[in-house]
Each structure stands twice: as C-alpha cells, then as structure tokens.
Symmetry: none
Subunit: 140 residues, 4 copies
C-alpha cells in the first residue's frame, strides 16, 4: 500500500469560494463542481442564473479533468479537427468532456481532484476553474 | 402565465446548513443534494466519510421527491409488497428512487424543490432531509 | 488535506492470487474483480469457464462493496422481501449489486477497495472474495 | 458446427506480460484490457499511475478491435474528416472506440480476441498493444 493525499470537505469549500468569487467578478453565474481523485463529486454549487445543462457539463468536466489527469481543453485540442484523440469524447456514455473548463488538481505531482465550471464561454469557464485551483494551492 | 416561487442559492444554503448540522448531531457523514422544482441539482455536499454510492442516491432521492412531488418513502410504500406503483422504481434509468430520504419542498402548496440525503439508515436519511426542509421553512 | 492508504498493483495481485487459489480449491471457474476506494477497476481475471454475464456482475459487486462500504449480501438482506433499502438496486444504472459476493476491504478502519466474484452460488462467491481479502490482510 | 480456437487464461497472461513489459520499457503506466472473440473482458490490469478514464477506454478499444475485427485506428481513419464510417463512434452507447490502441488478434485468419491499451499517446498505446499481440503469436 502507499500513502496518498485526499481532499477534505474543508479543502473543497476553499476551492468553491475561490471559484464563486471569480465568477461574481466576471459577472457570470456558473455551475461549479469539485471532485476527488476518482472523479466522484464532492461539492457542487449552481449560482442563481447558471444553466440547467451546465450542471452535468460542469460535473463531467471535473470528472474528466481528475480522472484523465489533464485539462479538458487539452483533450479538446486533440479531438477537434479530427486529431489523434478524436472519438474519446463519446466514451463513458458521453461523460468524457473535451470542452474547456475542467482542470485537474495536482499536489506534489500527484492527482488529488478536479474542478469543472460551465455556463460562460470556454475561456471564462477556465478562468473560474483556475481561481478554484489557485484558492487551494495558495493555502498549502 | 403565472407567478411562481423559485429557490435561490441563498435558500439552498440554509437548507444545506440545516441538514449538515443534523447529520453532525447524529454523528453520520452524509451526501446531501438539493434540487429545484424541475428536479435539477442546485447544491451538493459530500461530508468527509459519506459513501461514494450515496452521491447518486442522494441526488436521485432529491430528484424523485421534487419531480414526483412526494416523499420517496411514500413511493416506496406503494412499491413494496408489489403495491400499485410497483415497477416505477426502474423508470428514468433507475433514477426514480423509492428509498426513504428524499423529501419535496412545498411552499404555499406549490412545489419549489426537494432534498435528498444518503449514507445512514433510511430513517436517519429522512431526519436529516427534514432538518433541511425545516431550516428553510422556519425563515419564511 | 488528509493522508490515506491506496492499494498498489502488487497488493491487488496478492488478493487475486488468494481468490483464484480458493476458486481452484472449490473447483469453480470465476470472474474476479478488484477495485480501488473509488470503486474503479484495478485488476480483473476471467477463469477459463467463468460466465460471460459474471464479468459485469463481479465488477459491479466490487464497485458496490467498495463505494457503499458494505458487503453486497448485507445490502441484499435490506432489499429482499421489500426491506428498507428496496429500490437501491436500480441506482447507478443498475450497477448497485445486492447479490452476495462483493466485499469491502478496510484497513485501519478506512476503506481502501473491494473485491467481487461471480459464477458460483452466492455462498461460493463470498468464500472466494473472502480469500482475496484474507490474502492481503495477512501480509500487512 | 465448426472447430474454432479460443484464448485461454494462460494465453491472455502471456499477452498481458508482453504489454506490461513494453509499457515499463516506455516508462508509462497503462490500463490494459484483453477480450475474447465476443469482445468480452478476459483480463485487465491497471498499472499504478494509469488514468481512471483509461479503464473504460482500454476495455472499449479491446472490445471494438475484437468485435469489429479491425484496429481501432483503422476505424478512426474512416471516421475522421467525415469519412464513410463517420457516426459509428457513437454506437454501442459510445463504446465503439475509434482512437488508436485497440488491436484484433487473428490466428490462422480467424478472430480470437483483442487487446486495448490506454493512458499514453495513441502511438504509445498501439505499441504496447502490439507487444501484447506479439507475445502470444511468438509462442504459437
């Protein structure tokens, strides 16, 4: 067996606060999901005017980023224009999300979780997810 | 057209705090989900030792209670012993949850959402969900 | 963040050897699945005459035992005869398995994974899974 | 009726060893799946740092290669740029995988199984799968 780090609820709250504050700053209500290293949901917030379809998209972005250990946009770049990963977006019953806005959380080089945001543009979603990542890394 | 009440993020936070406090009081970490009148997720918290399978179960309980406008246990009673609703538990790809712990939230006779808890016994899940319901109704 | 134990591939090989040896002793070829604490597959073996349908059943048993942190038979007892957990077996698109043969692996009171076996009777499946659990606990 | 060859557990172990040794040589932990002529899982190994999402992707690659009797990359070539097979990648609930890394195993012109690898680049996944194929063909 080996020792690894696990996110606690307290950790995810810091991430969520960081992401929500950034979304408020941008003026866009978002769906925000945070998952553990296995891609399983830990914390979710739908801001008041966030989209219904963005609920699952944000959860799937977080799942993909944590479980595939890569930013969803990086996968997107390998998928669009029929790149080498084209087709992977239908795996996991379509939960494998290749739209920007999902980011993995690494600590000491090990994956510990992920965050996914949705409701804005892909760029805005990424900025908000990054704010969530920064919020937890800054307190470590 | 008609005027209806909609839950806000602030409302769901009160519900969540009420439920979490009750779970802490009972000494059981739970997965807790709150949905809107359409059964769509608004807020979700996994307490540190809550079960992985209870993530979806809590979300499904909240979905069922809000969308079917009935406590999940009441549906359970119509399903067990091959009652009149037997079979409904497999609908919605099995998301129609008939295990106790999902409660609808009515205000002035209108459905506005639902809450679902999972990780304890069915009875404990119901108590925690009820605490979430009470927390929002007491401030109205 | 908190420190937790994770199974390694070496650990799961010991579990698999223990289970296979017991299946050979019983004279029944089995499908055997071992998962991590998130319920995700780590190692799988189909013995030569094990059933095709037992592939997914063994994987789902291991998933359920690890993610719900309970032997699948214990859930089965709460589900049959329309007990208090009746209905939970349709959750997770029917992957929530309540047939005996899935066992959680706890170390120092913390969940670290699970094992599921299928192809024999429920009792035989449990015996083989237990042999897998014993094989890893005996070396700790 | 006709006589056909079937893979045994011993055969798949040779394939798995060949693939794992190649993955170690490349320095990339992979998820590796081996299936029979029906596309059904026979043996699966997750190396310690292989991706969670690659579990299903490797299984789906092996399934597709064996059941469609073609390297997944060859299907990919018929799908990209809106080729003649475009659309097939969403069949089987998205399990029809057109990303490189799945290879069919033919013996004497007959399909007997398949292997799928995932966690590296598409090119690396193919190299590891080919090593698994070579390991069994070299002993025949």
């Amino acid at each position: 067996m080996k020792q690894v780090l696990k996110l606690t609820l307290e950790d995810t709250k810091k991430m969520m606060d960081g992401a929500i504050n950034k979304a408020i700053e941008l003026g866009i209500d978002m769906d925000i999901a945070i998952v553990d290293d296995g891609g399983h949901l830990m914390l979710f917030t739908r801001m008041d005017n966030a989209k219904i379809t963005s609920i699952n998209v944000s959860i799937d972005k977080a799942f993909t980023a944590a479980a595939a250990r890569k930013a969803t946009l990086d996968y997107g770049k390998s998928v669009i224009n029929h790149g080498p990963a084209f087709g992977i977006q239908t795996s996991h019953q379509g939960r494998f999300c290749v739209v920007g806005g999902g980011l993995p959380l690494f600590v000491d080089g090990q994956i510990v979780g992920g965050i996914g945001c949705s409701s804005g543009s892909s760029d805005q979603d990424i900025v908000v997810s990054q704010a969530g990542i920064d919020a937890i890394l800054s307190v470590k």
